[in-house]
């Protein structure tokens, strides 16, 4: 057992996968430069020393290297694609949405696309183009599995599952949860480190986890919002409210079983997300609960989300934009009033 932050834990998990299977390789910008950073957040730092021919350092050509990864995956390799900021994935949307997601389907199931895409999200002091939470853009896209680990333990377990999966997996990682060190350290970082067991454990794709049990209200949140929801739950405990916090960990497929079991127990739901509210993750969860769980609900489902604007730069505006612990707690108090 060693205690690691997400960046470090992911690095060792990637190293382990590359040692285990010589078809695994990394591709992306600034990922294999000696004296460089190991990607934007140090995840691949130093891997080029061990795997000089499997760390493909690309030009700044996102659409290009996502497509290159697809071609390589169809020919039997298992690429891990690193996009520095999830905001840049829009440059690669043809390859992601039209090609990677659909190639197996169009082939009638004859070919496989074993490919992992790692994309950092998080509203983090960079304004509109380097600090979005882009997850909701990908939810309606058939053909891609989506995971979002909030702890180092889950990052390792989900990375292993993603690399070993024969389908495309998009992994959202949060900049404030990485625990990146040195010049790439993030202001406002949240401790998401875990004790990482020595064994080759995996976290299955599509399995949520109950982070904290409670019987009065269910809070559903991923990534940084999961950590804030835990803090809000502690606050609410003092007010006599027992909040159950569920971390879905996977967005596609989604673990409805765990969520529904919790909702059947509590009858009250708050969904927290760092992206704009309109057509977000919360909208999807709330709609499904309305369709399938209405008889259990004793209060309206509440969404705590960012407003429908770009991420602002000024710190006071950013603090207003990202759901705070207090906003989460307040939403819970509101659903408790029913």
């Amino acid at each position: 057992m060693t205690r690691s932050g997400i960046a470090e834990a992911l690095r060792e998990a990637i190293r382990g996968e590359m040692r285990r299977d010589d078809r695994v390789f990394c591709i992306g910008e600034d990922i294999a430069i000696r004296g460089g950073w190991g990607g934007a957040f140090t995840v691949t730092l130093g891997l080029e020393e061990e795997f000089s021919d499997r760390m493909i350092n690309t030009p700044i050509s996102e659409n290009g290297f996502f497509g290159v990864a697809l071609g390589a995956a169809m020919m039997g390799l298992r690429p891990i694609v690193d996009v520095q900021y999830s905001d840049f994935i829009f440059l690669a949307m043809d390859q992601v949405a039209n090609q990677i997601a659909k190639m197996r389907y169009m082939s009638g199931g004859k070919l496989t696309v074993p490919l992992v895409m790692r994309a950092p999200v998080g509203v983090t002091g960079r304004g509109a183009q380097h600090a979005q939470c882009v997850e909701p853009f990908f939810l309606p896209l058939p053909g891609i599995k989506i995971v979002a680990p909030a702890t180092a333990y889950d990052a390792v377990g989900l990375l292993r599952s993603a690399v070993r999966c024969d389908d495309p997996v998009l992994m959202f990682e949060h900049k404030l949860l990485y625990g990146s060190k040195g010049v790439r350290a993030e202001t406002g970082a949240v401790d998401a480190s875990s004790e990482i067991p020595e064994d080759d454990y995996v976290v299955p794709i599509g399995k949520a986890v109950v982070r904290r049990p409670g019987s009065d209200v269910t809070i559903i949140a991923t990534l940084q919002m999961m950590h804030r929801s835990l803090q809000a739950a502690q606050l609410l405990e003092k007010e006599g409210i027992g909040a159950e916090v569920i971390d879905p960990r996977s967005l596609v497929p989604f673990d409805w079983e765990t969520v529904k079991a919790s909702v059947a127990k509590t009858g009250r739901v708050v969904i927290v997300e760092e992206s704009p509210k309109r057509s977000g993750i919360g909208a999807e969860i709330a709609a499904t609960l309305a369709e399938e769980m209405i008889e259990y609900l004793t209060a309206p489902v509440k969404r705590v989300a960012a407003p429908n604007t770009p991420a602002p730069f000024a710190p006071p505006m950013e603090r207003f934009y990202v759901p705070s612990i207090e906003r989460i707690a307040q939403a819970v108090r509101e659903v408790m009033s029913f």
């Binding site: 390789f25 021919d53 499997r54 493909i56 690309t58 030009p59 050509s61 659409n63 290009g64 290297f65 996502f66 497509g67 290159v68 990864a69 697809l70 071609g71 390589a72 995956a73 169809m74 020919m75 039997g76 390799l77 043809d94 390859q95 039209n98 090609q99 190639m103 197996r104 389907y105 169009m106 082939s107 009638g108 199931g109 004859k110 070919l111 496989t112 058939p142 053909g143 599995k145 999966c165 024969d166 389908d167 599509g206 596609v252 497929p253």
Partner: protein, 325 residues
């Protein structure tokens, strides 16, 4: 056109390959206009020498990517008329089990991934297939077919550049039929040739007559060999002409009449058969026999396709993931 160094059976196989595509396209056009075939079609009549000449330079282990106009590439790469026809008829016996259709025709078992119907989308993908060959030390080559329209996509720049910087075993083949859909190439491209763009990537670029099947074959063979030997990509521009509409019922009114008339004189099958007769390689009779055999091949494929089962509606839910979500 010089046939001296080739065996007659090889030359006749090129003829058969081109005739197979032409007759397939003409028959499919008819079936489509009759309303017997669903969907939309983009056809390649007049461009047969490009697909046949290039694919004749490839082995079964080599792979190609294609475009929204994929029928010729598919047949030239070895997808059978039977499998292609069944796919166009949207049957379970089609090469994509009815999930691809005309726009996504392909079969990796025959060395062609489902056709990429987004213009330029196949360029990074072919580059990545070549990266895999290089990383796995396989002596295989990827060929990326594209139209002239694709060269103004960002994917062209990104993909060709990566193929070049990593010296990958890939050949970028531009079938320049002078029109991107209805827009003339000279409206949208300043350089005289497309091949000269290769200098921006530090790779060789060659422009040749794409309606001369032997020139296409010989040039492609050299580019494929160069790629296989590890010397990197080539940008190969084949000048050709589409003697049918862009898609569906397009009468191609934007193609001037005299240009079309010249193109019909210059179309690759007429030219090649004339050449084979003049050189004493084959008589009209031998070619007529091939024509007849191809007709039969196509008619029996149509018969098989129309009697093959349609997919069940709920088959739409299959084939998304390997590990079911």
């Amino acid at each position: 056109m010089s046939t001296r160094s080739f065996d007659p059976p090889f030359l006749l196989s090129l003829y058969r390959g081109m005739v197979r595509i032409r007759k397939f396209e003409e028959r499919v056009k008819f079936l489509f206009l009759e309303g017997r075939m669903p969907g939309t079609i983009h056809q390649c009549q007049g461009q047969e020498a490009c697909a046949v000449g290039v694919c004749a330079a490839l082995g079964p282990e080599d792979v190609v990517t294609s475009t929204h106009r994929p029928h010729g590439h598919a047949l030239a790469k070895g997808i059978t008329v039977h499998d292609a026809m069944a796919e166009l008829f949207a049957r379970t016996t089609g090469c994509c089990k009815g999930k691809g259709g005309s726009l996504h025709l392909g079969d990796l078992a025959r060395g062609m991934v489902p056709a990429v119907a987004i213009v330029g989308g196949g360029i990074p993908i072919a580059t990545g297939m070549a990266l895999a060959f290089k990383m796995r030390k396989q002596e295989r080559v990827a060929v990326c077919f594209m139209g002239d329209g694709a060269v103004n996509e960002g994917a062209f720049h990104e993909g060709v550049n990566m193929g070049a910087i990593w010296s990958l075993p890939v050949v970028y083949v531009v079938e320049n039929n002078l029109y991107g859909a209805s827009t003339p190439i000279h409206w949208v491209t300043k350089t005289k040739t497309i091949a000269e763009r290769s200098s921006a990537y530090g790779i060789p670029g060659i422009t040749i007559d794409g309606n001369d099947v032997l020139a296409v074959y010989e040039t492609a063979k050299a580019a494929v060999q160069r790629a296989r030997e590890g010397a990197g990509p080539t940008l190969l521009e084949l000048i050709t002409y589409r003697i049918t509409g862009h898609s569906r019922r397009d009468p191609a009114l934007y193609q001037p009449a005299e240009e079309k008339a010249r193109a019909l004189e210059n179309e690759p099958i007429r030219r090649f058969s004339r050449h084979l007769i003049e050189q004493g390689i084959a008589g009209a009779e031998a070619m007529e026999r091939i024509d007849l055999e191809v007709d039969q091949e196509i008619e029996s494929a149509i018969e098989a396709a129309v009697t093959a089962p349609e997919p069940a509606p709920e088959d739409a839910l299959e084939d998304l993931f390997v590990e079911r979500a």
